[in-house]
């Protein structure tokens, strides 16, 4: 087939995929909306009655909510990594997956951003964390890592949302043509009058490059800042210079695993097995494997540093993590993050969606538990043994956590239905460059 035919085919595919989402999609959408309602009810209850419904107590003042915050910020990482960093490195396998990853980033940050507010004792005063001029001359404390979080997360949200929006402009224009009714209005708005002229394309590609360059340092900075919430504190098990790189690697690890978790069912549902082929899964599997090894190295380093010097509170905390009453969490985390991903050394497993999906879900579970263990087990093993107490999350915390997943999937499912889940313009570009879509996977990079 000729290149123009391929381009037309890509266009047709992109338009067709959305109509392939039927009743199952609608049910999932309703299910996730129901979960949002559950979470909203739980949060309303919590605002009404106070944090008494949580399992938090002295000495464990942070629990599931902060775990969820770090987890979702981590999820939000891979989007930018895949779309921006891999774009800069011209890793062409990203084409098929980056839109999903970017959307995941935006929705991940949207979910993560809720948790610092949910976990506040007085969430109705959350705006006090912003340095806004006021007649009482109240100001925020720029020494506090929580304030850095406010800036890191809001910056990240703005940049990633803009990145997603800008990247989608030509695609929205492509969908505008066949669409009717309110969809047409939607795509018209999103395409901001895109006509596909050479000048527009020139500006678009430059702008996209600049955004990619701008977003790249954020990948490093956001999770470094999040890790400072812990590293800056003087709590044994938190206070470590290891945390920023360890958290960034962990974030990419969990984020890519989340991309796989979403992509494998999605390619099936959308019939994109041709576009997102074993080659792409293989590449994602390699990223997971690499980051898994980095995270494992960090675990080893954490322990060996604590056991290097004289007995310390830090060593006691690490021993507590591995042998204390909540040791099962630690060992599930080790299994999910360090042991099972070693299977990805086998190319056959990397290329098999059926094998990759459970591994990726295991990584997600392991990474959630990693944050949970770091936060709660370090606090539980207090310096003053008199106060030591084990934290058990309570129903209201689980309900809000479920609500957060619902919130994330609600937006994501809406996205795949309404907006192009794969980049039409880049697919066309691939097609134009390489002939057939089937070849693209093999020669793309």
């Amino acid at each position: 087939m000729s290149a123009p035919a391929e381009i037309r085919k890509a266009q047709a595919l992109a338009v067709a995929v959305q109509s392939r989402l039927g009743l199952g999609h609608l049910l999932l959408l309703l299910l996730s909306f129901a979960a949002v309602l559950v979470g909203a009810y739980a949060w309303a209850w919590q605002i009404r009655h106070g944090m008494v419904g949580t399992g938090l107590m002295r000495p464990v003042a942070w629990g599931v909510y902060i775990t969820n915050f770090v987890f979702w910020v981590g999820i939000a990482h891979s989007g930018t990594l895949i779309s921006a960093i891999l774009f800069l490195f011209r890793a062409r396998f990203r084409t098929a997956v980056y839109r999903v990853a970017e959307a995941m980033t935006v929705f991940g940050v949207m979910t993560a951003g809720l948790f610092p507010i949910i976990h506040l004792g007085r969430p109705w005063f959350a705006y006090w964390l912003f340095p806004y001029p006021n007649q009482r001359h109240l100001w925020v404390n720029f020494r506090s890592p929580l304030l850095w979080d406010v800036f890191a997360v809001s910056t990240y949200f703005i940049i990633s949302a803009t990145f997603l929006f800008v990247g989608m402009v030509p695609d929205a224009a492509a969908l505008r043509g066949p669409a009717k009714g309110w969809r047409r209005t939607l795509y018209s708005l999103l395409s901001v009058g895109w006509r596909g002229t050479t000048g527009e394309w020139r500006h678009f590609t430059r702008a996209y490059l600049f955004f990619a360059a701008l977003a790249t340092p954020l990948v490093i900075s956001v999770h470094s800042v999040v890790s400072w919430d812990f590293a800056v504190a003087m709590l044994p098990g938190w206070h470590s210079t290891l945390f920023p790189p360890y958290f960034v690697a962990g974030a990419i690890f969990s984020g890519v695993a989340m991309v796989v978790t979403l992509l494998v069912p999605l390619r099936k549902a959308l019939g994109l097995e041709d576009v997102i082929g074993p080659r792409h899964l293989d590449m994602l599997g390699r990223v997971i494997l690499l980051t898994s090894l980095i995270v494992t190295y960090a675990y080893i380093l954490e322990f060996s540093l604590a056991f290097w010097g004289p007995p310390s509170a830090e060593r006691a905390t690490l021993i507590y993590r591995a042998t204390g009453p909540t040791a099962w969490q630690f060992w599930i985390m080790i299994a999910g993050n360090s042991v099972v991903p070693l299977l990805l050394f086998a190319p056959r497993i990397r290329r098999s969606p059926a094998a990759l999906l459970p591994i990726a879900v295991g990584v997600n579970v392991g990474m959630w538990l990693e944050r949970f263990v770091i936060i709660t087990a370090s606090l539980a093993n207090d310096r003053l043994p008199y106060l030591r107490r084990v934290y058990h999350p309570r129903p209201v915390e689980w309900a809000i956590t479920v609500g957060a997943f619902g919130w994330f999937f609600f937006w994501f499912l809406l996205f795949v239905k309404l907006l192009p889940a794969i980049s039409i313009s880049e697919l066309k570009e691939e097609a134009g460059h390489a002939g057939t879509p089937a070849q693209m996977g093999r020669s793309g990079d």
């Binding site: 006090w128 020494r143 919430d229 504190a233 310096r383």
Partner: protein, 960 residues
Amino acid sequence: MGGDDKLSMQRRTFLKIASAAGLDVGCSPPHAPAKLYSYLTPPQDVIPGIPVFYRSVCRECSAGCSVTARTREGRVVKLEGNPDDPISGGALCARGQASLQRLYAPDRHRAPARADGHGGLSPAGWDEVLREVAGALRTARERGRAGAVRFLTRPEPGSAGTLQRAFLAGLGAPPEARIVYDPLDVPALRAAGRRLFGRDELPVFDLGAARSVVAFGADFLETWLSPVELTRGFTRGRGRVGPERTRLAWVGPRLSATGVSADVWLSARAGTERIVALGLLRWLLDPGNAVPDLAPEAGAVRRLVEPFDPAAVEDRTGVAAEELALLGRELATRRPCAILGPGLGATGSDATDLAAAVQLINHVLGNVGRTVLYGLDPRIDPPAPPSALAGLVADMAAGKVDLLFLHHADPAGTLPPQLGFEDAAGRVGLVVSFADRPDASSRVARQILPDDHPLEAFGDLTPRAGLVQIDQPAMRPLFQTRAASQALLDLARLLPLPALSGTTDFHDYFLEQTKDLAMRSAGPKGDLEAARRAAQERGGWRFPASPAAVTLDARGLRPFPLPPRPPEGFTLVPFATPLRGPGTAGLPWLREIPDPTSAISWEPWIELSPAAAARLGVETGDVLEVGGAAAVELAAYVYPGLRDDCAAVPFGPELLRLLPARWEKPSGGLDWLAVRPVLRKTGRRVELPRMSVGAEPEAEATFLQYVSAASPRARRPEPAEQMYPPPPEPVHRWAMAIDLDRCTGCQACVVACYAENNVAVVGPARAIEGRTMAWLRIERYFTPGRRGHGADFLPMLCQQCGSAPCEPVCPVYATYHNPEGLNAQVYNRCVGTRYCSNNCPYKVREFNYLDPDFPYPLNLQLNPDVTVRSKGVMEKCTFCVQRIRLAENRARDEGRPVRDGDVVTACAQACPGRAIVFGDAKDPASRVSRLRSDPRGYAVLGELNTRPAITYLARVREPA
């Protein structure tokens, strides 16, 4: 001005304003007060915002401490000790302070009440109730059954007691009709005094003079006799440096909070304290040990204790011969000493013998007259032995009692139900109670004549020879209550009772009764009124009194028989603490604050040693069915400070149900050790509300330091470099020193903190979750001692760090360093990130998980100087910043700098051991500055370089 523009309002504008105003009125809250009144003629003494202090008396136990009541705008907000009082010396125990919650108890009787015939009570008017009671009394008198009236009362050594006696005499009742009952009395000590010295009284102990103290189960730092006074005396001796420091030995099967303060624990089998005491006596009198300066009767006494040789003692008690010898040697050289006993946990069937043995040791060592003082008990209105209540109950059951008055005596709540008080009360014609709130005994009352709280009424009390405490009202009665004495006078008027016809008002009666005292203090030409006023201001009259010389009564010297070895199996050891003793039920502070040794609050429990628990397969939280006089279910708590052959239960209704009503013959006291419980696992588990749930590995308490008496020097890490410059503290740097050698874990400071700072009581469910709000807690660590097990107390509160980890992490500056060195917490600004708590190495910040609840009238106790915090904010110790501000403002008004001692935090004020000293570290002459450089001083977790404002003075302990 022209006529046209004088009023520019148009019709439209007028309507706008009118409708807006109408809307406003419609929106105004319906519960807004209809009318507001301001003071037209302000009441005397009340300046809004300025506290007024009144002296009064604490009636929680029989020690008779004088107290200072701080009032604000006409209501009492805090109780403190009276520094002019020779008993309390200005301190006040946990119970005394919780008396405030009796005043403001939500379940207080708010008006007289009478039985409604359906098992309940219905409110009634005073006239009505008094008429009915007077009618019943008149009937009894007319039928010639005045002897069938009984008046059960607490000790009233003052005009109230005189009035009661006069009332009964006027009625024609015999003196025996009035029965004085004190659940905290030590009848065995009275009996021993009778037997050995012919003195029917309780001795007074001057522990400040003692160089060594041995307590035979006597929890003298908690509930025994006069705990505040004894703690003060004991800790005065603890404050002496080097070998002069008072040493304490604790003898008993269970390490009580008093035992925790001891240097040596002789873990004797339950109920064998007497054998240990007699073995000790024999050792001291053994010519081979050459103890010098023994009393002349030594030889005679020696013959009485011949069988108690060390081997026999070891066999019976489990106390090794060498331990006994060590203790004997110590007592022989460290004189004067003081031997105390018996306490509740040592009061068995031989309590009088134990008390006699204890007093014999005191006598032969020459302590009597030096540390053990007879002749200071005023012997006014002494309590009858509790066995007298058995007689009363028998009379009641036999129908010999027509009318029973209960005056702050609660036999059903303080003696075993096996006594049958409640059943017998059914045979009594009329039971009248003066109870201020429901208690176990007044359940059977058909008429309630609610008494005023001592802070609402006049009275006087003579707890000691030459010492008359004046009970002064500090506020008007909250409810329709009436002082019991006044109610008696009213009854006398209604009957009528000619003997009491001269007075209708109890205050007049009180003035009449105390006239002699006023005249004596005023002197021959003095102003009576001025003398009264001075006494009222000071808290009472103090006249010189000296102890009497006593001699050993040879007739009392009977040989002590050596009992056989006690049988194997568990013994039930009861114990009382300041938080859990007779009469403490339903006082929220005492229930919320954890027990000092077990850290359990709210619920009762049964203690087992780790070995015993392992043998029974029991863990903390397992519910056991405990078989005694009745079967009781109690949750187990595994306590290392207990012998393996004991089970210990704190004072409470559960303990009483277990006990049979068996009396110790010579003293008439209850045999508290009569139960050998049968323990059975029920298979159920409960969560106990415990502040400390961990296993507390001993080796990890590395932040506790010990020094030896010989070289008291603690380790202090060199302060490390700081990234930020030290905070500017131009005038003051408030600081505190806590002497761990003086801390007895009595929790008085904790209650004081709750009262002063409006700390919320959260209840058992929240306590299980670990969400109690205490700003100050006393941590307890099990630490192996020189011999056997030991424990330490560590009061933990905000350290007001110079380089505070909580400050930089708060995103909104809700916590910041103020220019006086305090870590201020701005509740209004706090959004509740709880990061400060995470970063606090001492975990002294408390988060409000829910809005606090102060049910009426408990809300009247709230200190108006301190904000009540709402849900979602952090709170913590402020070093009583409101007191600092008050002192600073006062100093500024008087145009002088703040002097050392002007600011006393609530905890420091309350501490009977004077372990807490507060002051300005920038004033080099202040006491706290000197203590900060004390060689024993160190900072807990000082290696973290937080530069805390609190210096702990290490506990003195002999090297292992």
